[in-house]
Amino acid sequence: LQQALSFIVARFGASVLYLRSNLVLYIGMFVKRLIVGVFLALLPFIAVQWVKQTNWGPLLSVPPARQKGPSSARVVIFEYSDFQCPSCSHAQEPLHHLMDLYQGKVRLAYKYFPLTNVHRNAIPAAHAAECAAAQNKFWPFHDQLFQTQVAWGPLSNPTTSFMAIAQSSQLDIPAFSACYADPSRLGAIQEDIEEGHRREVNATPTFFIGDTRLVGGGPLEGDGARTIERELRK
């Protein structure tokens, strides 16, 4: 019996000691891993918070010719768009649908954001649209530019196409031609581009409804109504 007892004490005593030392080792290792893991996770987090822009400032006003809807509308949709961008063309349908759905409550304001590095005719198209805006015919010109985008987009010189659109939009052609030849008209486009860059617009179409940014026609279709409702409730 004595032999058996001393065997159990020796056996269990060693196990307890072994268990204790291992437990201390495991806990120590776990704490070390936790500290290193959190420290390493903090590095990118701090870097992102350092660089990330969270305040884009107020949107600059848009000339009345490039706005659609009543001035008393409680919600304004700002659209950064490129006439040569296929996504911008596809986004017109959900946009028109929203404008119809919230008629009288929503105003649309168009901002130029030609993606010059991928669309070579985007600036000339914006220039032509700005000349149409000077004659208060921005919206019919805008609609036709998108409708005929596939035709004038790949052309090396789209001027003839723009002239044809100007004619069918019933613009004063000599005034339109003089405006289109005047590079000072590009100033308004440049202002919009610079504002877009300040607001971190990198893709078109980008819509701002209140503080909410929606990029592309799909998100506008999916989330546009909900966002407008939220803004109307404010």
Binding site: G37, P44, V51, V215, P219
Partner: protein
């Protein structure tokens, strides 16, 4: 202390390359408005927009964390498995767009010029294989990794 071998140096280079790509990609997305990345995910037409919105917020942080852990060699095997899963999923998504005959460039108009889908798939396959190599070679903590430092200190 265990001597650093040639394989360790090679593995460190591979870790730096794969981790660097993940950190770079994750950082660019994390600092940009998430709506833009959501639109890019939505262009694949694989998941609903609301899931794309959630993924657009979560994915950059997963990439950043995985990339940082790979570079420092922390939880190396797990990080390499996550990394290979990320590249694997991206490969499937890109492959499906090619199979469906979709041109992603026409789905979203993004200012920056990007690699064509076939080029992207090539780069992605290399990164996927390298991630698997890291996972296979780091069954045990190797010198030059945070895992090794934790185990030996």
């Amino acid at each position: 202390m265990k001597k650093v071998s040639g394989i360790d140096v090679l593995l460190w280079t591979v870790r730096l390359a794969v981790g660097g790509v993940l950190v770079y990609a994750g950082f660019l997305k994390a600092v940009a408005p998430s709506a833009e990345f959501a639109a890019a995910i939505d262009a694949y037409h694989l998941i609903p927009y609301h899931a794309a919105s959630f993924l657009a917020v979560a994915l950059p942080w997963i990439e950043l964390l995985t990339g940082t852990y790979l570079i420092f060699g922390f939880m190396l095997r797990a990080s390499a498995i996550v990394s290979s899963a990320l590249f694997g999923v991206f490969l499937i998504a890109l492959g499906s767009t090619l199979a469906r005959g979709m041109d992603l460039a026409s789905c979203g108009c993004f200012g920056a010029e990007t690699l064509r889908p076939k080029q992207t798939i090539g780069v992605d396959i290399v990164l996927f294989i390298l991630s698997i190599v890291i996972a296979t070679a780091s069954r045990k903590a190797r010198p030059g990794t945070a895992d090794y430092w934790i185990e030996t200190r």
